[in-house]
């Protein structure tokens, strides 16, 4: 890869340009994930269409973050398939899903503390010539132009996020909201085809949340990148996302426009919990809690 292949525009790139045709960009089929005795994701299937900002909501413990961890390769799945851009990505490791074009953020920002803001961004682009150990000694002339291009891309991204005045600051010195922006900036640097945002508004003041929302919307509009967001702040979900997918008890409960979701009785029930009398109907759903692996503990399970 040579410097010419680095696009000068910080965020615009081609792949996201495809409009929402019938082909989903991400297909999750029958995904299952067990942790010890608990089934966190239970035969979950969902599609994300290209070019959308899709919201992922659901009550606590519905399996949203686990789903992110599975899609991005941070957890190994128990069963099921994940297809991204027509390619199977289940079983890939975290850095491999990244190269497939899928980039995630963490709920709590994971900045590289003792690296500058600029370095935090410049780290991200893939296939950097200078990441070969030999390159700095034997082919420095191939690094320099690429570095300049990446630095320009990083500076433009910082400008886009209004963080450019902090470029030489250590990331550890940023405020909570600035760290969130930095995290968003890092994902943009990857020129991904799809971004997974885990609770971008968590721990951010309402004023900054508005800014962040604006940046996310602008990002989508200007680049066409598909965005999947876990979010609890309904104000954000309602104004930003379409469609919204509701997850409950490890599977998709429904999908619809924000208004449809808002009006849906079943969704409300999922949030507010089942009523005392509903237990007989709910009793069918016992597969949700599975017996622990006998071999793991070497002892038999007592009857529940």
């Amino acid at each position: 890869m040579t410097s010419s292949q680095i696009d000068n525009n910080p965020i615009r790139q081609s792949t996201g340009g495809q409009t929402a045709d019938s082909q989903p960009i991400l297909e999750v089929r029958d995904l299952v994930k067990d942790f010890g005795g608990v089934r966190a994701v239970d035969h979950c299937s969902l599609d994300v269409m290209p070019g959308t900002i899709t919201g992922l909501i659901g009550p606590n413990g519905a399996g949203k973050t686990t789903l992110f961890n599975l899609i991005s390769g941070f957890h190994k799945l128990t069963a099921g398939t994940i297809t991204f851009l027509g390619k199977r990505i289940d079983g890939m490791e975290a850095h491999e899903t990244f190269h497939a074009g899928l980039v995630r953020t963490f709920q709590i920002p994971r900045e590289f503390k003792y690296m500058t803001v600029l370095e935090n961004l410049m780290l991200v682009p893939a296939n950097q010539e200078g990441e070969r150990i030999w390159a700095s000694w034997f082919t420095p002339w191939r690094i320099a132009p690429q570095e300049r291009a990446i630095e320009r891309q990083a500076l433009e991204t910082l400008e886009f996020l209004n963080l450019d005045h902090l470029k030489d600051e250590y990331a550890a010195n940023l405020s909570g909201g600035q760290k969130k922006l930095l995290e968003l900036g890092r994902t943009l640097m990857a020129k991904p085809k799809m971004i997974l945002l885990d609770e971008p508004s968590a721990g951010v003041s309402p004023a900054l949340t508005d800014l962040l929302m604006e940046d996310i919307r602008r990002t989508q509009e200007e680049t066409g990148i598909t965005i999947l967001i876990i979010e609890h702040n309904m104000r954000v979900v309602m104004s930003l996302c379409d469609p919204v997918i509701v997850l409950s008890e490890g599977r998709k409960l429904m999908e619809g426009t924000p208004e449809e979701v808002q009006r849906d009785e079943e969704v409300l029930r999922a949030y507010l919990g089942f009523s005392g009398e509903a237990s007989a109907a709910a009793g069918e759903n016992t597969a949700h809690e599975t017996a622990p692996n006998e071999a793991e503990f070497g002892e038999t399970k007592a009857g529940a």
Binding site: S72, E93, F106, F112, M115, E129, A135
Partner: protein
């Protein structure tokens, strides 16, 4: 004039220690790899260089020992170019051992690497101590040839070799500095800060850790080769953990890990104190007291000044916005 020769002798060792601290800085300072077996790579480098350039120790024990002995003659390279071949071989041997051990342990918990490096150091020492056919056992290898020895009088040789050490040190400093300031080094520092987030940024963490481990080990191997040709004698006692591992750690931590200049400063200052104490009156000039102080200093530095004297450069004031 004697003082000059003394200073040159001091500078040779301080410079060689500087090489080790540079190597250790790649491991700990930039990547966060906890290597407590510097002595192992030191010994591998020193013995590799010595074996390539000295006569086979005892031919009756192992007559077919082929590669030993006469690198200088075999290569027939003018102006002692064999020296650089010896340095390169030392780096390669250390690097290959690092590759094998790193491949096993670098995917696991951080502290497994520490114990494994300790194991390398001990196993390497035992091998050179016990395999008499290979390295003459406890009697060691002597008569290691002088690099450029024909050009100066024996008295002046220290001055010349001091210059050689400084040149090699400067070259290594330059090479490592290049690598650390390149995108490759940026990934290492990211790994040191947060391994998972580095993986989320699409980097193959294991591969970078392995590369850094091999690079640092190879640098240490070169330091060992410099030592062998500087003192022209090696035996297994040289690679005692105190003088071959622990003091290097103290040098790095005192100078400031994560900063190559600090690492070099640490090497010269700590070695200055160490060798300066030999002029103390005999009552307090106890080598074991120095042993104690090295450990004590390591604890003290970490507790009181975890960033060392200069540490990593801080571009912006602490506190910031």
């Amino acid at each position: 004039m004697d003082i000059i020769y003394f200073l040159a002798g001091f500078g040779i060792l301080a410079g060689i220690y500087g090489v080790f601290t540079l190597g250790l800085n790649v491991h700990w300072g930039y990547t966060g790899l906890f290597n407590i077996g510097v002595a192992g790579f030191f010994a591998l480098g020193a013995y590799t260089a010595a074996l390539l350039t000295t006569a086979p120790p005892s031919p009756e024990l192992f007559e077919d020992f082929v590669f030993g002995g006469n690198l200088a003659n075999t290569l027939q390279l003018g102006i002692d170019l064999w020296f650089f071949v010896a340095l390169a071989c030392a780096a390669i041997v250390s690097g290959v051992v690092a590759l094998v051990v790193g491949a096993i342990t670098l995917r696991l918990r951080d502290d497994y690497l520490a114990i494994s490096t300790l194991g390398i150091a001990e196993s390497v020492r035992l091998m050179f101590l016990n395999e008499k056919w290979l390295a003459n056992g406890s009697r060691g290898l002597s008569d290691i040839p002088k690099f450029l020895g024909d050009f100066v009088t024996p008295k002046q040789y220290d001055l010349l070799y001091f210059a050689v050490v400084i040149i090699v040190l400067a070259a290594l400093y330059f090479v490592i500095q290049r690598a650390i300031n390149s995108p490759w080094g940026r990934v290492l520092r990211a790994i040191r800060e947060d391994e998972e987030a580095t993986a989320a940024a699409g980097k193959n963490v294991f591969r970078f850790k392995l590369q850094a481990f091999i690079l640092g080990a190879a640098v240490m191997g070169i330091g060992g080769a410099l030592y062998a040709h500087g003192f022209r004698y090696v035996d297994p006692m040289v690679f005692d953990p105190l003088l071959a591992t622990f003091i290097v750690w103290v040098m790095l931590m005192v100078g400031g890990s994560g900063n190559n200049l600090g690492a070099l400063m640490g090497a010269f200052i700590v070695w200055g104190i160490w060798s300066g104490t030999q002029f103390l009156p005999p009552e307090i000039n106890n080598p074991n007291l120095r042993f104690f102080l090295i450990g004590f200093l390591l604890v003290l530095v970490i507790m009181l000044r975890p960033n060392g004297m200069i540490g990593e450069r801080r571009r912006v004031s602490e506190g910031g916005t």
